[in-house]
Amino acid sequence: MRVGESVRRPDGAAKVRGRFEYSSDLHAPDMLWGATVRSPHPYARIKAIDISAARAMPGVHVVLTHKDVTGRNLYGLEIKDQPVLAHDFVRYWGEAVALVAADHPEQARRAAQALKVDYEVLKPITDAEAALAPDAAKLHPNGNITRQVKIRHGDQSARADIVVTGEYEIGMQDQAPLGPESGLAVPEQDGSVELHIATQWLHVDQEQLAAVLGLPPEKVRLTMAGIGGAFGAREDLSMQAHACLLALEAGRPVKMSYSRTESFVGHVHRHPGRLWYEHGADRDGRLVYVKARILLDGGAYASSSTAVIANASCFSCGPYRVPSATIDGIVAYTNNPPCGAMRGFGSVQNCYAHEAQMDKLAAELKMDPVELRMRNALQTGDKLITGQTIDGPVPVAELLKSIAAMPLPASGEGKGGDVDLTKLPGGVSNTTHGEGVKRGVGYAIGFKNIGYSEGFKDYSTAKVRLFTKDGKARVEVHTAAAEVGQGLVTVQAQIAGTELGVNDVVVLDADTNVGSAGSSSASRQTYITGGAVKTASEAVRDRVIAMARAELRAPSGLHIENDNVVTGTGKLVVPLATLLGDEVIEETREFHPRQTFPLDAETGQADAHMQYAFAAHRAVVDVDAELGLLKVVELATAQDVGKAINPQAVEGQIEGGSAQGLGLAVMEEIQLKDGVIRNASFTDYLLPTILDMPPVRMDVLELGDPNSPYGLKGVGEPPTISSGPAIAAAVRAATGRPITRVPIRPHDLTL
């Protein structure tokens, strides 16, 4: 179990046997089921709530409204602006208004339906531009601009010979983790509550819950339940506070588990956006300036919007040398569903725009699109548009070279004969036997920050224990870091195993009995929690070596290998178990990466980010140009991961991330009408199936970042950034249509 090996997941056997306990599988004797009363209006004033009918329904034990929130009825990751239960206004369709707990989920649902809320329906603001209008209703006390980011870099009056402009639109994507929001809250005699929950960050949940419940943090204990995917959807509170309030009031355990429809209003989404770009270049294709206005719809509450717009702005130009940049990023409140974190976090939206612009520029210059990108490729030591000098490997040109050099898939099947429908646009739905099918190839590259930015405190805590069990050395690793499926549990074990030379490494369940790990987001956990496990393991190792030297008068240069303390030349000094005896060696360490700083409010200049990761994609797409249907034939990708701690898991991240990017490009969109979601189900919110996702050809580079543990870089998000823009480029190449909006819909390609 060492760093660099494709170690199998320790939870794999339980997962394939159906015996891994996810948050929706939890149960307790005497448990009640919670249900949520939700607003049927995107914007309304609550005039009155009558709980009497609901309370009188069979099986009902508790009905709660905003009056029953025992602490502060506001929460939020960046800005505390969201009520746990709406009191004066509801600001989006599906906002939580009241809670019910009953013996059976059907009883809870019926009671929720019976609860009467008297609303004064107001006209919703459902467009971000409209929210900015001077006469627009103020949805929050400080107005409708959640955050505005200004970047002013270089010569603000720069002019160029070649200018291309474009306007782009990105639809609202859902993370759609398969595990629904769910958990079990268990009240204790002393007035405290134990919450078993699937979350991306236990400690930030705990902190928010303590405030909402009016309890000291030690009276709100959280234990991680199995997580059925996250992708950003589990950063904010969903049912956590609701289940705790119900359980504390009922004096009985309460389980809540959202239906898929409820899940669509139970978590935030990827921000939809409109982006206006102007690129200026010289006649050799070198960028002179980029101007952009990026407008994201943040929906009803802030969530992590303020950080998303910073990312969208900071990485707005792509990984290119841009001497002058004028960027205005705005995220606005509306009465649409709240938006926040999703894999890629602001860099997904802007990548569609900057890559479309680069292709436009290439076409204008009659230059190969890859060549144009290489000519402008960012390199180590260059300044970003935020003024930060980028250090570590910046393999923009290498990644582009790699994907361009990969062999292309064989051309599609000709007409006639036995056609394999599954290989054609439309699949077995039999819409073409080759008629109308055109192939296109497109390229894209993107980048983003790893870890938190702008001075947000980034650290993780690990406790490592070494002791003897059944005559053999065992290591226990304890952190609060969320294993959301990405394989962090394996990585932690590999790192401890590597540093301590012990074969039996167990990663304990995450809970709040150990210090914060930060969130499983921003592609940061392998770096930050991995760093904490490494540091704590090193501290344990140092103590073991000191112990060996003291007790055995052994020479210096000792290390641990294969459960034995050995000399520098590998000679056995003492088996670890013998040395330890009954001794338990335990160390807890925090790992802090280098500091970052907030963007300047007027210029957006700062050393705002800690690490950058890059990925490039080439897409080959067959388009039935007459029907507007697509088949992505192949994705090819290259990514620098610094060091692959677990190569198989890295491949899995790249394949899975690419698939989520594909989804946004060709099918995934939460469709809204007047603030109401029209497709809150998996029947109409379409996710890529195994027949939609093509094989992925990949080149994983390990260039080693001198600043990070083992040289690693965050892996999870970059693949989601550039796969979609590459597909859009391929569709453009196949059809000659501009493709300025994703997801690409059949009518965009035909009418």
């Binding site: 649902r109 239906s259 898929r260 429809t261 599954t422 646009p425 439309g426 699949g427 077995v428 739905s429 039999n430 819409t431 073409t432 036997h433 008629e435 109308g436 007459e626 029907l627 507007g628 249907l629 088949k631 060709v666 099918m667 469709q671 029209r678 497709n679 189900s681 029947t683 109409d684 379409l686 890529p688 199936t689 195994i690 027949l691 939609d692 819909r745 059949p746 009518h747 035909t750 009418l751």
Partner: protein
């Protein structure tokens, strides 16, 4: 909620007479979605999966009579040669899990304009057999769909079977969806050539309040086709056929697509389908 579980057809009909409000359920692929997502709370549900007769098919007076409880998977496996259009449509229904469970009878009962079985049933001039305690009647499928999710069955009737003449010429089915599998139709089109009678029949799905035929397109192209010489129809005739097929639709804008796109796609599918079917007729049908 009441749960009825007849074990014979006679018992089922008697129960339906006694409980006309009972919602029949077979594969559950529509009914359970409604219940699970809390869209519907039927007062009474009647499970028809115990009625063995419903899962039978047999040939009868030159027609194939298929019990309402025969699944899509069995239609593909057992009846693909006799009703290729319906089998092609069945292959596009949901997933293997759905096809193992879902039935054409259920599709007819739900009578969604997007039901995949409907266009090929229309193109095959199928009959729907409705039964009640007081008797049995057969309704041409063209008269069966009376409105969005409404059909010609009376409250006391159950869908017993559908009847189709074994294919007398090439049949095709095409469905536009925005995913390459497991997708509800944006619109769909079925075509059947009846070589013996020199007839063309069509069915349109998901582009109107009900599944629809395109009679003008049928009549037009029947006259254009060179049934004896088997020469391909002119490009102009094929294009006109596409236009008439699209004109028969009554689409709306909804979450799955726009009305304008649906018309466009229908014209393309109609043209292509005619091309494929005619090619099959030229090389394959005696």
């Amino acid at each position: 909620m009441n749960f009825l579980q007849p074990s014979t057809w006679a018992e089922a009909l008697a129960m339906k007479a006694a409980h006309p409000e009972a919602l029949p359920i077979a594969g559950g692929t529509d009914v359970l979605v409604e219940i699970n997502l809390d869209h519907n709370r039927p007062d009474t549900v009647m499970d028809l999966t115990r009625v063995a007769d419903l899962a039978e098919w047999a040939t009868e007076d030159g027609l194939v009579r298929v019990g309402a409880g025969v699944t899509y998977t069995r239609i593909i496996d057992e009846l693909g040669d006799r009703m290729p259009g319906l089998a092609m449509a069945s292959r596009t229904v949901g997933s293997p899990q759905i096809r193992n469970r879902g039935t054409v009878g259920g599709n007819l009962g739900t009578a969604s304009p997007a039901g995949d079985a409907h266009p090929p049933l229309l193109a095959s001039d199928a009959l729907v057999e409705l039964a009640s305690a007081s008797g049995t009647r057969r309704v041409p499928v063209r008269d069966f769909f009376t409105g969005p999710k409404r059909n010609a069955a009376r409250k006391d009737e159950l869908i017993a079977a559908f009847l189709i003449e074994p294919a007398t010429g090439p049949q095709t089915f095409s469905k536009v969806g925005t995913r390459n599998a497991m997708v509800i139709a944006v619109c769909s089109f079925a075509l059947a050539l009846d070589a013996g009678r020199r007839r063309v029949r069509t069915g349109i799905g998901s582009a109107g309040p009900t599944p629809l035929p395109a009679p003008e397109a049928e009549q037009f192209i029947e006259g254009e086709l060179d049934w004896d010489g088997r020469q391909p129809p002119s490009d102009a005739a094929v294009a006109r056929f596409g236009e008439l097929a699209a004109a028969a639709a009554k689409p709306i804008d909804d979450v799955r697509g726009t009305a304008a796109y649906r018309r466009h796609a229908l014209s393309v599918m109609a043209r292509r389908s005619l091309g494929w079917a005619w090619q099959d007729y030229r090389v394959g049908w005696a």
